[in-house]
């Protein structure tokens, strides 16, 4: 892969990330004139405690002084203490990160695989019964807020059948041994993963279908057919690799939505990850927590976009081999 392309993309991502860091300061220190006003226990604070808190939150001195303190603390990954639990924010986040990574990772993988498959098939056989059915279904999926799926699954699957737990990460107080605990976790993950997958399946399928249809008119498909290739080979070797290219960029952009989906999905299933932490922080006006969560979410999306740029380069020789 051309080194310049790589370097350009990495530098771009770092610039965006520093942009987010600055923007974050702007949001929490300039738009919000008095962050401490959101602290619920503030009326009970003594003057001393109040001053300690102001110092700890880096609210002393001019805005520039505050900015320097803030940037330093970001580099130390020190985001202060949660208003709610009074524990360090970083610890709160790292403790919940694996659960969310697992949930989002599994469902993103599923969504991409199923969505791209359906979109490919629908676009290739445009106007067929499969296309009409799947596109209508995709439109409805796209129009449904993912947490409503969660509520439906809870009410009509978990509630009615009792096959799945209604929430949490694992059965509380139970120990089934290593394999048993693993299965127990997976058991708890089924409905949240299903919710998040259904929530974004529609848009991925629609994106891929559009790309496929745009590819259908390309001359190289006629060339491939002329060579005597089967229809399925023309599709998989020639149409799909090209149709994937615009999809990769669009999917990268839409991953910002998935993060939003994780917040509501975890809320519905009381799944103790970063999403649920976000929902709690909203309800508790927990500014330090929200600030850090916003940074983490942005960093995750920037990273995902960077990965997408690499995938794009791997798929497209015009980018990969450009000098």
């Amino acid at each position: 892969m051309s080194r310049r392309y790589l370097l350009k993309k990495v530098i771009g991502a770092l610039l965006t990330l520093s942009g987010v860091v600055v923007f974050n300061f702007f949001l929490f220190r300039i738009i919000d004139r008095d962050p401490l006003a959101k602290y619920r226990g503030r009326s009970k604070l003594t003057l001393e405690q109040r001053e300690t808190m102001i110092r700890r939150m880096g609210l002393e001195g001019s805005k520039w002084d505050q900015f320097v303190v803030y940037v330093k603390s970001v580099f130390r990954l020190d985001f202060g203490r949660s208003f709610d639990s009074t524990q360090p924010v970083l610890g709160e986040i790292t403790a919940r990160l694996p659960a969310t990574l697992f949930l989002v990772g599994v469902s993103t993988l599923l969504t991409i695989c199923i969505g791209l498959y359906i979109g490919t098939k629908a676009g290739w056989r445009r106007g067929s019964r499969f296309d009409r059915t799947s596109t209508s279904a995709a439109m409805v999926l796209y129009s449904t807020p993912e947490f409503f799926f969660g509520m439906l699954l809870l009410a009509f699957v978990a509630g009615r059948t009792g096959w799945f737990p209604t929430g949490g990460l694992r059965s509380v107080g139970a120990n089934y041994g290593f394999v048993g605990n693993l299965l127990d976790r997976i058991h708890h993950l089924v409905l949240p993963v299903l919710t998040l997958t259904l929530g974004y399946l529609g848009s991925y399928a629609l994106i891929m279908r559009t790309s496929m249809i745009e590819t259908l008119g390309e001359d190289y498909l006629v060339t491939a057919r002329a060579k005597g290739l089967r229809d399925s080979e023309v599709m998989s070797r020639h149409a799909v690799p090209n149709a994937l290219l615009p999809s990769v960029s669009l999917i990268a952009i839409s991953c910002g939505f998935v993060i939003g989906g994780a917040i509501t999905t975890e809320t519905v299933f009381s799944y103790p990850g970063l999403g649920l932490a976000t929902a709690n922080a909203i309800r508790n006006n927990d500014l330090p927590m929200l600030q850090a969560l916003f940074l983490f979410a942005s960093a995750a999306v920037i990273l995902f976009n960077l990965v997408a740029d690499f995938v794009y380069a791997l798929l497209d020789p015009r980018v990969r081999r450009a000098e």
């Binding site: 923007f23 509520m151 009410a155 939003g260 509501t264 909203i282």
Partner: protein, 302 residues
């Protein structure tokens, strides 16, 4: 003489607009998904307008449910049952349609105005201004908009109007990019170049020549922003923003979730608002995609 000249020009412009409108209308009638979207949308519009006929506004007040049973199943008195404090769900649903539509539409106006201004400027201006605007646009495309909206709403306040502005502020980046691309193609067209060569000022060229060219695109794009704005609104409301006493559909779902209506399967509480959200989002999406197809013939057959 001059005046009569400009009148004829105006009349011609209006005649052209009328023709364009009737062409769009004719094509829309033959575009099945688009027409379904339009019908669905008119249905929701009527629903929202008829709110005072269906239920009195006072039935949204917490006090109104005091004498009613909590989470009661649908009956002849409460067609869609009651919520956890005994309020009529149907009343909240029909008044909620106004809240959801209001936030969705206001957010779209905000997003389209910012997006158009940035897009027009970035497309029309050259050099540094354009580069800076593009960088800002890129930034807003990458930054995850829901977390951003959450942060802004926490800081700025939780009222429906604030929510609408926050949503609009976080969702203009896509349209700015789209409009910029369109402006770039248009500025190369002969009539724009001619206008510029004749010494027309930037503002004149933009308003008279470029804006009419991008207007169809802006309309189609706006129709597609409304559904995402409504979805974002319901997500934010579900997460605790918004007004419990004048609930949007998303806020109703929040109430249904936190009141435990799901565990006791009080479907009349969570099913109707959820289905309404799906319906309105679907309606705008179908219509918006149809308008895109009509305005941009390259998209035919999608």
């Amino acid at each position: 003489m001059r005046e009569s000249g400009s009148t004829t020009v105006r009349a011609m412009t209006w005649a052209r607009r009328r023709r364009a409108f009737s062409r769009v209308w004719r094509e829309l009638r033959h575009d099945r998904p688009g027409f379904i979207g339009l019908l669905l949308l008119s249905g929701f519009g009527l629903f929202a307008l008829s709110a005072p006929l269906i239920a009195d506004r006072s039935s949204l007040l917490a006090a109104s449910g005091r004498n009613n049973p909590d989470l009661a199943a649908p009956s002849s008195k409460f067609l869609l049952g009651t919520d956890e404090i005994g309020r009529d769900v149907l009343a909240q649903l029909v008044w909620g349609s106004r809240v959801s539509l209001f936030i969705g539409l206001l957010a779209t106006v905000v997003a389209v105005v910012i997006g158009s201004l940035v897009g027009l400027a970035a497309g029309y201006a050259k050099g540094k201004i354009s580069a800076v605007l593009l960088a800002i646009d890129d930034f807003f495309l990458v930054v995850p908009f829901l977390p951003l909206a959450i942060v802004l709403a926490v800081i700025l306040g939780r009222s429906p109007t604030t929510l609408a502005i926050v949503i609009g502020f976080t969702s203009w980046a896509g349209s700015a990019r789209l409009i910029r691309a369109q402006v770039l193609t248009l500025s190369e067209r002969a009539y724009v170049e001619r206008a510029r060569a004749l010494g027309a000022g930037s503002w004149h060229v933009i308003v008279r020549h470029v804006l009419p060219g991008v207007a169809p695109l802006i309309i189609a794009n706006a129709t597609l922003i409304v559904p995402t704005a409504i979805l974002t609104e319901s997500t934010l409301s579900f997460l605790g923003f918004g007004d419990r006493l004048s609930p949007s559909w998303g806020k109703l779902l929040d109430g249904a979730q936190s009141s435990g209506s799901i565990t006791i399967n009080a479907w009349w509480y969570f099913l109707p608002p959820g289905l309404c959200i799906i319906g309105i989002v679907l309606a705008f999406t179908l219509l918006g995609r149809a308008l895109e197809r009509i305005f941009d013939p390259r998209l035919k057959g999608r």
